[in-house]
């Protein structure tokens, strides 16, 4: 994002309504309070080792309305959701939640990293985020563990059938 952020900003790429759109969503309410102090970036464990991930920059770009740049950016997916930024923000901005709101919007536009597609498919199929190997299930018995709960994938699918994103993904065959 550091590179994309340095590009000249053209007025045509600014969506002035974007910040209001985000502020209306759960977790994004306090976006406008950010005064760019940089506590989030300086305390971010990911920013420490990444040349591109800067939560402060993501917040500023969102406030400015650089919708496409933010939503299409790969760095948006680097946040580890440790919530250190949220807990330390002097303005009470839920930084990690704003990033989650942005990711949800990016996902609606079809930008979903493969790892999430796989977890989603696995949950709908088995109730678990990962496909638990047969060997593991058998090993439970020898380790003295109770059988792995079978879950009720059918019931899960029923509760999720009206979720907009999942309907959309299904249509696209994902």
């Amino acid at each position: 994002m550091a590179e994309t952020a340095q590009k000249t900003i053209k007025s045509s790429e600014i969506d002035t309504k974007f910040k209001y759109e985000i502020s209306k969503m759960r977790g994004g309410e306090k976006l406008m309070r950010c005064f760019q102090c940089g506590t989030c970036t300086s305390d971010c464990p990911i920013a420490k080792f990444s040349d591109t991930y800067r939560p402060r920059q993501i917040i500023r770009m969102t406030q400015l309305g650089l919708k496409d740049r933010v939503l299409k950016s790969d760095t948006l997916w680097l946040c580890a959701s440790c919530f250190t930024c949220t807990d330390r923000c002097p303005q009470d901005v839920e930084v990690a939640s704003v990033i989650r709101v942005l990711r949800n919007l990016a996902a609606e536009q079809g930008h979903i990293p493969q790892v999430f597609k796989e977890e989603c498919a696995s949950i709908l199929e088995s109730g678990y985020a990962y496909r638990i190997p047969e060997l593991r299930i058998k090993k439970r018995e020898t380790s003295g563990l109770p059988p792995l709960p079978k879950g009720n994938p059918e019931s899960i699918r029923k509760t999720l059938k009206e979720v907009h994103l999942l309907k959309h993904m299904e249509k696209k065959g994902e």
């Binding site: 680097l78 250190t84 977890e119 899960i156």
Partner: protein, 289 residues
Amino acid sequence: MFLGCAIPYRVSAFEVSARKVLGKLGVELVEMPEFNCCGLPLDPISHETMLILAARNLALAEREGLDIITLCPGCAGTLKKVNKMLKEDKALRDEINCHLKEAGLEFKGTQDAKHFMQVLIEDVGLEKIKNAVVKPLTVLKVAEHNGCHILRPKEFIGFDDPEDPKTLKTLVEATGATCLDYMDETECCGAPSVGVNDKIALQLAREKLNHIKAVDAQAMITICPFCHIMYDTNELRIEKMFNETYGIPILHYPQLLGLAMGMKPEELGFSDLRVDTSKFMKQACEGEK
């Protein structure tokens, strides 16, 4: 008992040891055949899906009139957060209940969700734990690692102090071992970034291992399956990749407590650990002589 996904997938030693320890401390666990993923893995792409999955689990526990205990802090954090959100926001509760109704379920907000560590300190109690210790591990010096989701975001979790957490230290010291202070104790393990950017994740894990090595910790004690994978499974890889030497065993807290309660390593899933624990076990046994 809420297992979540990571534990049955690849961290069964945590479950084996936690069940042993809880059983001996008199906590009765009820198996829940219909529980599903807590929802957290899908929060990044669909907050709504996360809310529904979490609420479904809570509604199932409510139907049985039981509180939920989880071993994974990610699950505990998610279930606590959604429980609080739905209890306090009627409009949201109604919205989520519309989805649950499709499967004949309803969230009412009558039960609680807690992590294993919280159950130990709040429900079992420190006195009872100390009384159960028959082989105090007084010769051991170890470091704890809480992980993020057991503590943050503070507003929803409301347990311990995220900037200076004390619970795990207290529980480690209840076994007789010394719990060492070290630099950046509350720093994230990096696990959530695995799959998106492995290099950053491993650099974070390496930094933590360096800080723990600097204080000569004989082991690291974790209470999260993801943190455990990050350090135990990756320790050898990090050693090779960054030309480091650690040899520091990574133990699930109930494994440490189990040893102090007189259980044998084989009963506590020690054979599942990747990092060699033979030197550590020798040190632990020295205290008995």
